[in-house]
């Protein structure tokens, strides 16, 4: 078997960087441990360049387990960019002498390696490997604050939920293999489009449920979302940012490939289930978020609700290929815009951690006067997460509405529920915006925010407003991503 090295070049570069970071950390002096971050940064840049060289090509290697096409490249660029931003906001946070910095970057990069493997994984085994590669380092970096009981609790919860879901998912995958004799997604899709004997069909449907359960954990969908608030709150804030954006997006990338390629034939069975998942997830997320007084928990529940919105396009899959393409595009676009908004919001939160470690919403009082860039950024992110024009978040929701309405049948009802949820969500998003603008600041001087963090927040604000005013910027992606996807 010949291996196409160009196809796996980004992964190879990233793996090399990971090892380099580990070695550099062993030999670096205690005060110089932060050098792991620039090393990681350069490695990711190199991987990004490698991805750019692959644009336009369609490659397959490892017997069809690993595919590089537009869908995969889009997500790889996305994940690597998010990695750069997460690295930027992590630098100062972890450089205060108490952390195992090198290990943190090592684990973070390993997780990102799993992230960039995921959209190329067109095989059940590869999907499992990618998913585990994303999750396993996550268990560790969540519990990074060893002396903090909440961090430990977060790690244990994440770990136990994680391995349980992985086990269930693996069992489901084995059942699919048993029935179809295939692990390749396309071939499973073809195999399942033929009618199966009665007993086998039940097994397949049960297996799909098990697999969905595994991914539902990863994207924090109801009823597998219980780990999210505690884990986000206990983890170091850059890690929470990573979980909310990259980790969730990786889960969705895998889910997109599974449902739209491998299981498309059995859509009639699982679309109502996804509809229920979507509705419950968004509703539970929004209703509980109304109660939150701590910003990271609020963002955690917000992420849960947003995952509900992202699950809605899955419920629209049917025999109509045009609708399927629209739904696929809507889901992909939403994931991308959501990640930018949430990363920006977390950047503002990270900027405040030094000053008020408790991170209550009231700690953000008057932020727009103390630090205008951070304050205005937070307002833009909150308004965008709620889906008000002219922000990117509005267009993300718009594409989902469009797909839902064009579907007919269940679609418009789901759109109505999502619309109601958006209104409810704005109540708590505006509560944050209100705190930032209306309330008098308790301290006059600006917060001690690292320049890199403020820069990331500013960049995200600009991106959200740019997409909001000129959504055509993203227009090239949805058609591209569907070209080779399903």
């Amino acid at each position: 078997m010949r291996i196409d090295y160009h196809a796996i070049l980004p992964e190879l570069i990233l793996s090399g960087t990971i090892l380099l970071v580990l070695v550099a950390d062993s030999f670096a002096r205690p005060r110089r441990k932060w050098v792991a971050m620039p090393l990681s940064f350069l490695g990711i840049l190199a991987a990004l360049i490698a991805v750019v060289t692959l644009i336009g090509s369609h490659r397959t290697t490892f017997n069809g387990m690993f595919v590089v096409d537009n869908f995969a490249l889009l997500f790889k660029v996305f994940f690597l960019s998010v990695a750069l931003l997460v690295l930027l906001v992590s630098l100062r946070y972890f450089n205060d002498g108490r952390w195992y910095q090198g290990e943190y970057y090592f684990l973070l990069l390993t997780s990102f390696l799993g992230c960039i493997l995921m959209p190329s994984s067109r095989d059940l085994l590869m999907l499992f490997i990618s998913l585990e590669l994303v999750s396993a380092p996550g268990f560790l970096i969540v519990a990074f604050r060893k002396s903090d009981p909440r961090s430990n609790e977060a790690g244990i919860k994440f770990f136990l939920f994680g391995v349980l879901s992985s086990a269930v998912m693996l069992y489901g995958m084995s059942l699919i293999y048993g029935v179809t004799g295939q692990t390749n997604l396309t071939e499973i899709g073809q195999s399942l489009s033929r009618t199966l004997p009665q007993g086998q069909e039940t097994v397949v449907l049960a297996a799909i449920l098990f697999i969905v359960a595994g991914f539902a954990f990863k994207v924090s969908a109801f009823p597998f979302q219980f780990w999210a608030p505690d884990t986000y709150e206990g983890a170091p804030v850059p890690v929470a940012a990573f979980l909310a954006t990259a980790s969730k997006a990786a889960g969705f990338a895998g889910l997109l490939q599974l449902m739209f390629v491998a299981f498309a034939a059995t859509a009639e069975f699982w679309t109502p289930i996804f509809a229920a998942l979507s509705v419950f997830t968004m509703t539970v997320g929004n209703l509980v978020a109304l109660q939150q007084r701590q910003i990271v928990r609020l963002l955690a529940y917000s992420s849960i609700a947003q995952a509900g919105y992202m699950l809605l396009p899955f419920a629209l899959v049917s025999g109509d290929q045009a609708v399927n393409r629209a739904a696929f595009a809507a889901a992909t676009t939403y994931i991308l815009i959501y990640a930018v908004m949430t990363l920006g919001a977390f950047a503002v939160v990270i900027a405040m951690t030094r000053e008020s470690p408790s991170l209550l919403i009231s700690d953000f009082a008057g932020l727009v006067r103390r630090a205008p860039v951070l304050g205005i950024g937070m307002i833009v992110f909150m308004v965008s997460l709620g889906g008000v024009p002219p922000t990117g978040g509005f267009w993300a929701k718009f594409f989902v509405f469009t797909a839902a309405i064009s579907r007919g049948g269940l679609g418009p009802w789901l759109a109505v529920i999502m619309v109601l949820n958006s209104v409810i969500s704005l109540y708590y998003y505006l509560r944050v915006a209100r705190e930032v603008v209306f309330v008098e600041p308790r301290v006059e001087r600006p917060p001690a925010s690292p320049a890199l963090v403020t820069g990331v927040a500013a960049l995200a604000t600009f991106a959200i407003l740019a997409i909001g005013i000129y959504p055509e910027l993203l227009a090239h992606f949805p058609p591209l991503s569907t070209l080779a996807g399903p």
């Binding site: 509405f401 309405i405 418009p412 619309v419 209104v423 603008v437 055509e472 993203l474 227009a475």
Partner: protein, 513 residues
């Protein structure tokens, strides 16, 4: 087609305030006077362009858009940047630009606590772009973006610079209005997918109007879609019983906020009915018209009764807006050319009059620091004769005295209600007309009673020695155009009706009613 500058005119006038907002945002905080001057400059420039548009407008053209621009915007969803202006949009557009300009002048002197002039003016300018844009947008998505654009500035204007209960009022306004708008968006999407113009779907309002008038939309779909747009527009108008956000928002808002809210924002809802709901969903409009008329009649009477019960002067004026918009909606519900003309006239007249009323109340509050009628006590005419005189003048205009602007909208609304469109139940609408008449009497009642309690009577002890200045120059400058307009529109209604009639007949031809 268009000469060079005609392509740019509307876009310049609409987006100039937005540019101004950015310029102000980057001006240093300490240069307070510069900021205020910039506010006046940008709104003034936009108004000048608006007036030039009004001068260059072809009043004899009847139907059809002028100054039209139709270019690509977001090809991936099929939304285009289609703007234009016709006889229906023009008065409202100029009203928006003019009121914003006057508010900027007023803000030169009066910026309520907690100050922060930069943000105050920047938000006003952002609001102006949103409001002006809705009246000239002819693509559903473009319309929606402008529609939603006003939410955030008003939320902040009320929430920061408002009075005691401001935060509650701000969030209530935001969520209530947003709730209606999102259903409106779903209805827009439904219209898009059901339309078929040259084989493709379209968001274009002009094309959708033509598609609908040729019977393109099925009746059942129209009924459902109308519910969606109705929710969005009715909450904005606001129609009874969706009006509960208005008293809080208008009362708690700062003076210029109330002026712009009452003067322009409410018109966005009624304009939406005229431009979108009626032409694109004609069968549903005929089905729902009796209900809309009924709700409008209830609104007229209910608002008048509520006004009689108010103790807070500003809240009383706010409720009067609900009543006036009731007349506008009744006129629209008759589905006749007289009705639509009456509605637009009523909108402009209400914008001018109630905007002026809120200016007066704002100035009263600025001097007395109270809005409670009981505390004001009376004798305003004695203490501040100019202010009292202006206040009386505007209140009487608002109750519909013939010869002033308020009369024509009301009387034409009642007239159109006497003879509604063919498809509607004449008896029912005449009953609405009677209710409207009763409402007129009650309106006169509460306004005159208010004037009696505030303007007349003896001045209470506590105010006798107070050093309260009468109307100052800034106020005269910002009020004079409105006061003149009230007289001009009352004496010469052709100023508006001459502009709107052509476009309205064109619209009603499409409607086939």
């Amino acid at each position: 087609m268009n000469s060079g500058w005609e392509d740019w005119a509307i876009s310049i006038a609409t987006f100039l305030p937005l540019v101004g907002a950015f310029v102000i945002a980057f001006t240093p905080r300490e240069r307070d006077r510069l900021v205020r001057s910039l506010g006046v400059l940008f709104t003034g420039a936009a108004l000048v362009v608006g007036i030039v548009i009004a001068i260059g407008f072809d009043y004899g053209a009847g139907r059809g858009l002028q100054f039209e621009v139709n270019t690509q915007w977001i090809p991936v969803i099929g939304a285009r940047y289609h703007v234009g202006i016709d006889g229906i949009s023009l008065p409202l557009y100029v009203l928006t630009l003019a009121l914003s300009f006057l508010c900027a002048i007023y803000s030169c002197r009066f910026v309520p606590s907690p100050g922060r002039t930069k943000s105050f003016l920047a938000l006003q300018l952002l609001l102006e772009t949103g409001m002006a844009g809705t009246f000239i947008a002819f693509d559903l998505i473009l319309f929606f973006v402008f529609w939603e654009l006003v939410l955030v500035p008003v939320y902040f204007l009320i929430g920061i610079w408002g009075s005691a209960n401001r935060e509650y009022a701000a969030i209530k306004f935001f969520l209530y209005t947003l709730f209606g708008s999102v259903f409106m968006l779903l209805a827009f999407l439904g219209m898009y997918f059901r339309s078929s113009v040259n084989g493709a779907h379209t968001f274009d309002i002009v094309q959708l109007q033509q598609f609908a008038s040729s019977g393109g939309f099925g009746k059942t779909f129209q009924l459902v879609a109308f519910l969606g747009v109705f929710l969005g527009f009715a909450i904005k108008v606001p129609m009874w019983p969706f009006h509960t956000w208005l008293p809080d928002a208008h009362t708690e808002a700062p003076t210029v906020g109330s002026v712009l809210l009452a003067g322009v924002l409410l018109k966005m809802g009624t304009y939406g009915f005229i431009r979108i709901a009626l032409p694109i969903l004609p069968d549903a409009a005929r089905e729902w018209a009796p209900w809309i008329g009924g709700l409008a009649a209830i609104a007229i009477v209910y608002a008048a009764l509520a006004c009689l019960a108010q103790r807070d002067l500003k809240r009383l004026i706010a409720f009067s807006s609900v009543g006036h918009m009731g007349f506008v909606m009744l006129a629209i519900a008759t589905l006749t050319p007289i009705g639509i003309n009456a509605a637009i006239f009523g909108m402009v007249a209400h914008g001018v009059i109630t905007g002026m009323l809120f200016f007066c109340v704002g100035s009263i509050y600025d001097r007395y620091h109270t809005r409670e009628i009981a505390e004001l006590g009376g004798g305003l005419m004695q203490k501040l004769p100019h202010l009292g005189g202006v206040f009386a003048f505007v209140a009487i205009a608002s109750l519909g005295l013939p010869g002033l602007a308020g009369f024509w909208g009301e009387v034409m609304a009642l007239l159109s209600s006497y003879q509604p469109a063919q498809a509607l139940n004449t008896g029912l609408f005449r009953a609405f007309m009677v209710a409207g008449g009763v409402g007129t009497i009650l309106t006169a009642g509460y306004f005159l009673w208010m004037l009696q309690r505030v303007n007349m009577g003896t001045l209470p002890e506590r105010w006798r020695e107070a050093a309260l200045p009468d109307v100052v120059t800034v106020e005269w400058v910002s009020w004079m155009p409105l006061l003149l307009a009230i007289v001009a529109l009352g004496v010469f209604p052709r100023l508006i009706l001459g502009v709107t009639d052509g476009a309205v007949s064109g619209l009603m031809k499409l409607f086939g009613g």
